[in-house]
């Protein structure tokens, strides 16, 4: 496969070092940064289907919610100590969510284009309604996650590094996947699924695996966020299509669909502007956010990285047709 350029390794190292130092450099902003890592997972997992595979899902928040609830239920009912229960909860959340995505995928991923989008939208909404009426999950009043056994500062630090770990693992998993046969195959499905089928690709298998990977990391994030917030509301936290569900799409589009760095960049820019709006435009923050969305769609339909890539394609390892390139010289 194409070797990654040196500056990409420098970038990864830089972000990694900064991420490890942030709790001590900017201790007052630790929760914001925890949520930044969560946002990065949202954008990356959405882009796996929406950007790389061309399947615009409006219901990925389903797996986030399943993760949040599954983890909380295990923590409530297992009777183990806090950290063992949390670890077991996260594991169960990831497994359950992956299983659900595999089962749903077999049917839902058979639909294409708008049909897939509408169907996933329905799934997300339906899940919220089910959770809101299910006594076992606390119904409309939601679930409260267990009290963290240590102090507040320690708790913040713990969840910061938990989110960072999930995000890091997710990022490197996806990066590795995109460089392998899997990445090329889902790109092919995005470009022309009929052609991919005509060429004998196991399209259903690739699509299902892609959804399972997204569901796995979203569920882990869901488990972490449920504990971070301390309270799981069925419609406002777990299956919150209007906030998390829409944000994950926006962040991926803002940064640039179909790239590994686009969603990361999009999540950072989006989270930062959102926090700024909340601080300086209080009362109007949702209006400002809406205006921002309109601006993004009108002026950066390809996203920030997509726009940069159009301006300097060579920087992204793409070639443009020039005469210099012809024939033997390039061998």
């Amino acid at each position: 496969m194409k070797r990654a350029p040196v500056y990409e390794y420098l970038l990864i190292t830089g972000i990694g070092v900064a991420a490890l130092l942030i709790p001590w450099l900017l201790p007052n902003f630790i929760t914001q940064f925890t949520f930044l890592w969560v946002m990065v997972v949202f954008a990356l997992t959405w882009d796996l289907l929406g950007g790389q595979m061309g399947y615009n899902s409006f219901g990925n928040v389903l797996f986030f919610g399943i993760g949040a609830y599954a983890c909380a239920v295990v923590q409530r009912d297992s009777g183990l100590d806090y950290f063992t229960a949390l670890a077991l909860g996260l594991l169960c959340a990831a497994l359950l969510s992956t299983a659900v995505s595999a089962l749903l995928g077999a049917g839902v991923l058979g639909m294409r284009g708008h049909y897939f989008a509408i169907c996933t939208l329905g799934l997300g909404v339906a899940a919220g309604e089910i959770a809101g009426g299910w006594e076992y999950l606390g119904a409309g009043s939601g679930m409260v996650t267990p009290q963290y056994p240590g102090g507040i500062g320690e708790r913040d630090l713990f969840y910061y590094f938990l989110s960072l770990t999930i995000t890091g693992t997710g990022f490197f998993t996806l990066r590795r996947l995109y460089q392998s046969r899997f990445g090329i195959a889902i790109n092919a499905i995005r470009d022309d699924e009929d052609k991919a089928e005509a060429m004998g690709l196991h399209t259903t298998r690739y699509k299902t695996v892609a959804w399972c990977v997204a569901a796995f990391f979203l569920a882990l994030t869901g488990g972490a966020v449920g504990n971070l917030i301390g309270f799981i509301d069925p419609r406002d936290v777990a299956f919150s299509g209007a906030t998390f569900g829409v944000w994950m799409i926006l962040m991926a589009i803002l940064g640039g669909k179909g790239t590994i760095w686009g969603p990361v960049l999009g999540a950072a820019v989006f989270h930062l502007t959102q926090e700024l709006f909340w601080n300086f435009l209080f009362g109007w923050q949702r209006v400002a956010l809406g205006a921002l969305i309109v601006l993004i769609v009108v002026f950066f339909p390809q996203g920030i990285l997509g726009w940069v890539r159009e301006a300097w394609p060579e920087r992204f390892g793409q070639c443009v047709d020039t005469d210099r390139q012809g024939g033997e010289e390039t061998r």
Binding site: M1, R176, L177, Q179, S180, R181, F182, I184, A185, N187, A188, R190, D191, D192, D194, K195, A196, E197, A198, M199, G200, L201, H202, T203, R205, Y206, V209, G258, Q318, C319, V320, D321, Q325, G326, G327, T330
Partner: protein, 247 residues
């Protein structure tokens, strides 16, 4: 020669329109067979029926003595029966090499192989096939940036990458610069002779198909009108009438 593809009594209707009516033909292994007929005579419909894209209403299709009538498109493709499209289809936002790499045969790929990188042999094969069709210097360009003719060549190279036993070509010379057509015919013949790939070709350019094919089948209004050597077809009064519109 043994029979590779056996089409028997295949019918396909779209509502009241009969696109294919009881068509029977066979393709011998190693041959180059032509499929001709006026516009709307059901040639592409027959292709779509053979590769499993359209479920047929009646008849049976056998490939290597195996019933494939009810198999799905990717399953049939993995058996080694591949088609190219009249409206050329490539993966536009990937470069040519990636287009080629993902076209390697998928028959024996397990779940684990999707996580692997492409082996060196695949890359070498991709590059040599791109050289074969004359796209080597364009190999790192996005496929969508190529001209229509170049995309057609790329699609052909992708089909070869897949190592099919039988390749169905839907108008391989349509939309191609006339000066390049001879090059395409020569490549088709080389593929047939050296790689042993059997070809079933839809073609409107009569001088091309008469030189290329050993046997021709002519469709008209969804029915098989005539079959035979190019010489027989050329002089068949029914074929001439069909093309000239005599009732």
């Amino acid at each position: 020669m043994t029979t590779l593809l056996e089409v028997q009594g295949v019918s396909k209707r779209f509502g009241g329109i009969v696109a294919n009516e009881a068509i029977s033909l066979s393709v011998p292994e190693g041959g180059i067979i032509g499929l001709i007929g006026p516009n709307g005579s059901g040639k592409t419909t027959l292709f779509n029926a053979i590769v499993g894209y359209y479920p047929i209403d009646a008849g049976s299709i056998r490939f290597e003595d195996r019933e494939i009538t009810r198999l799905r498109v990717p399953q049939i493709a993995r058996l080694g029966l591949l088609r190219t499209f009249q409206q050329t289809r490539i993966y536009g936002r990937m470069d040519c090499v990636h287009n080629m790499l993902i076209s390697t045969p998928h028959a024996h790929q397990g779940l684990w192989s999707m996580l692997t990188h492409f082996p060196r042999e695949d890359r070498e094969k991709a590059e040599s096939l791109l050289e074969f069709v004359g796209l080597y210097s364009k190999r790192h360009l996005l496929a969508g940036d190529l001209s229509f003719g170049q995309q057609k060549l790329l699609e052909f190279a992708m089909a070869l990458m897949n190592e099919p036993k039988l390749l169905l070509l839907d108008e391989p010379t349509a939309g191609i610069n006339p000066t390049l057509i001879n090059g395409i015919i020569e490549r088709l013949q080389r593929v047939n002779e050296r790689l042993g790939i059997t070809l079933l070709v839809i073609e409107h350019n009569m001088s091309v198909i008469m030189n290329l094919a050993q046997e021709l089948h002519c469709l008209s209004r969804g029915r098989l009108l005539a079959s035979g050597t190019p010489e027989q077809i050329r002089t068949d009064q029914r074929v001439i009438d069909a093309y000239l519109g005599v009732q």
